[in-house]
Assembly symmetry: C2
């Protein structure tokens, strides 16, 4: 049986399988609404992607004539970090590499666009209004009003496929390599046959950092029908000087019809042009690679090859079905289910694979490496150490292990653990030393199948290297004084001290687990040094000078909404006040006891000082659980926040999804537990939102297999009255990872009244 027939058979069988599944219960992927997060700066996009895919095909609608508009959601008119915004109305193509839920513009390149009539190369000229958008996991479609062209797209992990339904007449498939979400410039394009091009596009400069590390993404693109005309366009920079008067195209676009040699430049593109006697479908297949054109071609061949659109879509949707089925929800609240599964979908996009089908990938030092397993990239660790990896340790331990091993490979290759790693470049976005926390947390949750000694060595390197330490700027002062001063040149010295503390705690935890008692003691002691910054006067952490004097005047409210302030990164004193998850008992003491602690916490929520859209304070709603009798406040607050910020609508995320961290927060809130203290294998409870949830665990890692979470949530009660674990009343609002994973059933009795 040849490969093609086998593929067909597999597709047929799987189609039957899905059919059967449907007859018994609805497909999980139907609960995904990819439009959630496409407004309110959620920065997700509704494009087609496979689980943790390296390629995705997103509609690109953030490039238009923004002149005259007050606050346009246009890519260059503000700090806009997504290829698609739901409010926008002008589509200029489909991008083939994209980031989802990140706060900085990058990628958003290799743009295809179907048009009719004369070939236009400027997106402002060829762009179109659109309607009838549809999005499912692995599928997106839209109608271009200007041209009457319906477009459908689908994708595998490293390749994508588009179907353009052209009307009769002149039609074109454009491949614009000039335009992009990234601010990087430069591309290469070459026709290798009338129906196939190959090339590369420069990307990089995430968060405007490391612009000198900008790098190429390679691609191969094939159309299904031989065009009547084809070519490459190139827009030239304006040439200065007297001589320029003879240049026919100075600063303008040249059409290189039928050109079959390579073309490079800052602003180029290609076109395939047709004259159709009747309406005709043209398919475009694109493979990408960060290693080489050859690998891009192989990725396309191996993942799509001769498969048709329906087969590719079905294959990818089966993969999504498998990924999302880790959680089974029985509930009549369709809306909540959609919110939940859309969150699980968004959290399954990054980190994404970075290696080619053959195992090649670009190492962190820029060399070409080879991996037998999965090599992941897009590690937004300042965000994800807080709850994301905990979720994947529980639900997808194999993926989490591969992420941990990828983190260790980055250390092997670059000499340092990652901080905010993107496509093997360290972008140094945000602060702290978060990889250590992820490594320790994963290990303590029983996922120990990695080189823990190496991980420990790596963690200590950033904690102890005094000179040229890219991960912990200010390390000397931190170790000497226990805090970073406002005079040391490190931005956000209070925040950064807290982050180093949390990382040090994680290292201490890891040391303890590995039997290094002395080091455990040392690091745990070090992890409490934030206390030096606690100011009784405000009952808050406060910036301090190197000489030990407090920074004055001090306004704890300053710095909200990303306003810059002296002590803190992306937040103010209130939003960082409780960010010592490893020392809540100590903080309660510092604040003068439980009462004052709760008072301060309430101060935050009652006076709009809480920011749901950013990470430092997202665990705060759960901190009431640290005070006996106040747990109902956690339940109330989490419920309020879920209702206020999470919706089955484009603006259904509180803000940037932060590669799934905001979605993870929502999912925990709906499930009824939260990993409140990174690098401590514990959860704390809140009231669940579904009557029955089954967590299908991977028995290779968690032998228990399934955990049922039952409640009477549908009756409307928000407050926990009682918790049973495996039928026994459970007295605490905290539970260890081990106990939770070994439980077969956790049952909540909810009621209308708080249990104070």
């Amino acid at each position: 049986m040849n490969q093609f027939k086998l593929t067909l058979l597999v597709a047929l069988l799987s189609s039957l399988a899905i059919g059967q599944q449907k007859s018994s219960h609805q497909s999980v992927i139907e609960y995904v609404n990819p439009f959630i997060g496409t407004s309110n700066y959620g920065t997700t996009n509704p494009g087609a992607i496979a689980p943790r895919g390296m390629l995705s095909i997103s509609p690109f609608n953030v490039a238009f004539d923004a002149s005259g508009r007050e606050i346009p959601l246009e890519k260059d008119s503000q700090w806009l970090s997504t290829p698609y915004v739901h409010e926008n109305e002008f589509l200029t193509g489909f991008t083939h590499v994209n980031l989802s839920g990140v706060g900085c513009p990058d990628l958003g390149v290799i743009i295809s666009m179907p048009t009719t009539g004369e070939i236009k190369t400027n997106h402002l000229d060829y762009g179109s209004a659109y309607e009838n958008e549809k999005a499912e996991p692995g599928y997106y479609s839209v109608d271009l009003k200007k041209y009457g062209i319906k477009t459908e797209v689908t994708a595998t992990q490293r390749a994508g496929m588009s179907r353009f339904y052209f009307p009769a007449g002149t039609s074109n498939v454009l491949l614009n390599l000039g335009l992009g979400l990234t601010n990087e410039q430069g591309a290469m394009l070459k026709f290798v046959s009338p129906t196939e091009v190959e090339g590369l596009r420069m990307v990089g400069s995430f968060c405007y950092n490391s612009e000198e590390k900008a790098y190429p993404v390679y691609f191969v693109a094939k159309v299904s029908k031989e065009p009547q005309r084809r070519g490459i366009w190139k827009k030239h920079q304006f040439y200065e000087g007297l001589e320029a008067q003879w240049m026919g195209y100075n600063g303008e676009t040249r059409m290189k019809e039928n050109f079959s040699r390579a073309v490079v430049g800052d602003s180029i593109g290609g076109y395939f042009s047709y004259n159709f006697k009747q309406p005709t479908v043209v398919e475009l297949k694109v493979g990408i690679s960060y290693v080489s054109i050859e690998n891009a071609r192989e990725n396309l061949e191996k993942e799509i090859g001769e498969k048709n659109f329906t087969q590719v879509k079905m294959m990818t949707q089966r993969a999504w079905e498998k990924q999302l089925s880790a959680v089974e929800i029985e509930s009549d609240d369709e809306n909540k289910k959609k919110i939940f599964y859309s969150g699980l979908y968004h959290a399954s996009i990054h980190p994404n694979i970075f290696h080619d089908f053959n195992g090649d990938y670009v190492k962190s030092n820029g060399e070409i490496g080879h991996t037998e397993g999965e090599r992941y990239t897009v590690f937004s660790l300042w965000d994800t150490y807080r709850n994301y990896h905990q979720l994947f340790s529980l639900l997808y331990p194999k993926q989490q292990m591969q992420m941990v091993n990828s983190i260790l490979s980055i250390y092997d290759e670059s000499g340092w653990l990652p901080k905010w790693e993107l496509n093997s470049t360290e972008t140094f976005t945000m602060v702290g030393d978060p990889a250590a926390i992820v490594l320790a947390d994963t290990y303590l949750r029983g996922l120990t199948q990695f080189d823990a000694e190496k991980a420990f060595t790596a963690m200590k390197k950033s904690a102890e290297t005094l000179e040229d330490n890219p991960l912990r700027p200010g390390i000397k002062e931190y170790l000497e004084k226990g805090y970073l001063s406002v005079d040391g040149g490190v931005s956000g010295p209070v925040s950064t001290t807290q982050e180093y503390n949390i990382a040090d705690f994680a290292i201490g935890q890891m040391a303890e687990a590995l039997g290094y008692a002395e080091e455990a003691k040392k690091y745990k002691k070090q992890s409490l040094s934030y206390r030096n910054l606690f100011d009784k006067e405000f009952n808050l952490l406060r910036p301090k000078h190197a000489n030990g004097n407090w920074y004055s005047p001090f306004d704890p409210d300053k710095g909200a909404n990303f306003e810059k302030n002296v002590g803190y990164i992306e937040g103010n004193a209130w939003q960082y006040a409780f960010m010592v998850p490893h020392d809540m008992r100590g903080l309660i003491q510092l604040m003068g006891g439980e009462k004052k602690f709760v008072k301060q916490l309430n101060e935050i929520f009652n006076n709009q000082k809480f920011d749901m859209a950013n990470e430092p304070d997202i665990a705060y709603p759960y901190l009431f659980n640290y005070v006996k009798g106040e747990e109902w406040r956690t339940q109330k607050k989490v419920d309020e926040l879920l209702q206020k910020y999470y919706k089955n609508k484009p603006d259904g995320l509180p803000g940037n999804d932060d590669t799934g961290v905001m979605s993870a927060w929502m999912m925990y809130g709906m499930l009824g537990f939260y990993p409140v203290a990174p690098a401590q294998p514990i959860y704390t409870f809140t009231s669940p939102k579904f009557d029955k949830v089954t967590l299908n665990l991977d028995t290779d890692f968690h032998p228990n297999g399934k955990i049922e979470i039952l409640s009477n949530a549908s009756e409307g009660g928000k407050y926990i009255q009682q918790i049973w674990v495996d039928g026994k009343v459970y007295k605490s609002y905290f539970i260890t990872d081990r106990v939770l994973k070994n439980a077969r059933q956790i049952r909540f009795e909810l009621g209308e009244n708080p249990k104070k």
Copy 2:
């Protein structure tokens, strides 16, 4: 014996051979002064090149801060078409692909530059004054004053080698892919090892024509020592929009230290940086190809490989010795010998080979082809049909045959004969249909080893295709009326009519030779249609309207010095008046007989209407030979022009060398004969300038082997008194190609007085 040892042995033996040769008589290459033509817009350069090489290494001194200078010889401040001008003083590197003696800017890219100290990427910052220039065929050296670096360069046909003599301290080898003589932009660069880069650079737009056909030249570059630091720089276009405020390098140059992935962009470069404890030589080897990086690497490996600088230089100088030894001169006038051999050197640069070592080349349709023989490019046929190919048919028949076969391949590939072909792009520079003339002329001189029937078909195609004829615009009107009118939209309608006439005559000649009597008659008749434009009133050709009326007012002087005028291309009515080389008898009749003909000719010379620097009138000094008793004027005039315009100095050419045509004119003048009528295998005599010249003919084509040209020129007489061919008095001032080639000796008796 391995390859390396064999190479050494060959080099050693050849070194001995040259040594022996030197002991008997001085090496011919010592008579070449590559600086001739580097001023006065000669547009030659003193760089290192092998005979008909695809690569050359030229100093690049035409990019500098020209602000404030009145008429700077700066590349962008005027129509400047050479990488090097002798008057300039600021060197910004060494270009690896160059054109010599052409009138439009192109190529002049892949720029290397040695510097010391901090790496600077802007040529205005890193450029340097220089001194101690030395140039020989295949060799150039210069000292950079700013850095105290001596540089030597040499080249094979497809590869080049530079030696940089660095002082102790920080030194750098820059590879600037942003700067160039061409106005094209765009390059790719990638480190494949610490000592090797590969990439491409876009070139094209010769004469600002066919900008949309701009194409890549690929290269591989290797340094001989591993650098301490290396990287790529990229200058970005200025990014507009609010977002640009966050970009650290907006519009500026980024240094990508140690970057090992590909980089593309409009303005990029690479660097190798060293810290030397003592003065150290670094060698840079560069291979190029128009086909691929792989071929560039193979070209470098096969032509240079592990050879050292001296070996490469010696190999190339041997090739030059062989090429230039076709003419042996015995004369004490060292200066004249230098002028002569420098002309032969300059005429042996273009057309140059275009195929890779393995036979691959880019076909005229852009596809990759393969050739077993030589594939030539750079056909400036409007210039070269007049005298250049005649010289090579005589002295280098094998090269001429390969040129003819290349011309026919271009026809096969593109469907049309070339007009001004450059690297497989037709630039459509100048007018007329010159390839037909070259083909017929070559055939009639007995070089018949090409597909003459195909050539004839190709010639007729451009002469007879009425629609979409890229070679003969206005063909319909030309055939209907016998001339191009000023109303037909064809520029220079009189000139173009004349050019078509000459081409038609050539086709008629070819038809006759192939036995097509009817077509011979038709085309020869057609070739006389210029007579429709002869105006008795002026005794000159005059522009005419479509309705048959003369164009008025008519000023025959208008249009000199490239001033635009109505009837003529690059000239005025006087400069075109006699450009009917195939019908001098007819013209004499039209002008009213020999007396009036001579009067008009004298009018041109006596009133400064003759332009030595452009092709249409360059045969005029020889036209006195058509009138019995007036031949002395030819001898006088040619002698005067040689003395006035040809010197052993940078301004020693009358102007643009036109890929060797001006040099060919000089060589004929010094040898004593001129191919006065293209497509007629004849020469006409003038007084030679040397006592003894031996033409060493290729016996594969011309069995006679050697022709001696003897005279008493050294005695100072300028006027021919008597001519002997093989000892017999020769009565005519014309001689057929056959008689000349079969002669063993032609002897001139010269005297002080004209023989009237």
